[in-house]
Amino acid sequence: MELTVNGAGRSVPAGASVADLVGDIVPHPRGVAVAVNGEVVPRTGWPTRALRDGDRVEVLTAAQGG
């Protein structure tokens, strides 16, 4: 299925969860947060949150900022 991840198109296998996607993007998901379609998905919910075709996913982490 086709997702938009951090603003770019990305294909993932059907049935993939948020945890699967995060695992593909960052090897050690320390300091990472995820929103799907503008809603926060808490870390504890990543394994059970199934992704759907067309989902917009933001995978965020610490960056330099004042």
Partner: protein, 256 residues
Amino acid sequence: MPFELGGETFTSRLILGTGGAANLHVLEQAIRASGTELVTVALRRVGTAPGSTGGLLELLDRCGVRLLPNTAGCHTATEAVKVARLARDAFDTDWVKLEVIGDERTLLPDGVELLRAAEELVADGFTVLPYTSDDPVLARRLADVGCAAVMPAGSPIGSGLGVGNPHHIRLIRQGVDVPVILDAGIGTASDAALAMELGCDGVLLASAVTRAADPVAMATAMRYAVEAGRLAAGAGRIERRFHALASTPDEGRPEL
């Protein structure tokens, strides 16, 4: 004297922002030189903005500083509340430097959205440190809804113009019972010292250090400026006079 903020005790009254540093190596040296114990970070897409490619959190661990996530770039209360919740999930902290920007050119806060977001986050258990304007009434409203501090801008973010309205900063200090942290606009050490002399409990700055030609030297200068300003504020300065008042006594002056 230790500094109480959000139920925690700090020795340093300088909060350092990490934005603008050329690289993580310089940032680490500057953090160490500043003596800070509280450092801001932003939340951005993985692998995009500076620092988001990894290493920033490890660096902050090594320095032994507490992390203060910000909501930089948010323009509405709804957006800022979401970013604060994402930061809480990412960094295991309910502290947030709340920023809700209302104007692109000055990056000054949108007071209406800021107050709304502050109320919502306080109700959700956050320790809210709002970046606000130098409006004493808005500062009081933010304290009234339960913010752990108020952080008025001295002047626009990154401008280096210093404390534009010292009178208002004093009024804010007199008007709230929570710590007042001068946030934004600091250009050099004397600006930070002035903020502390006006009665501020702390200073938050980023660009003044990270974009200085020598960030480590400026971080050291800021460390001493905040300490000097704090000491001076409590030392009872002399009154300003129109004419001179000799410090050397007239008594015993020789007749030559």
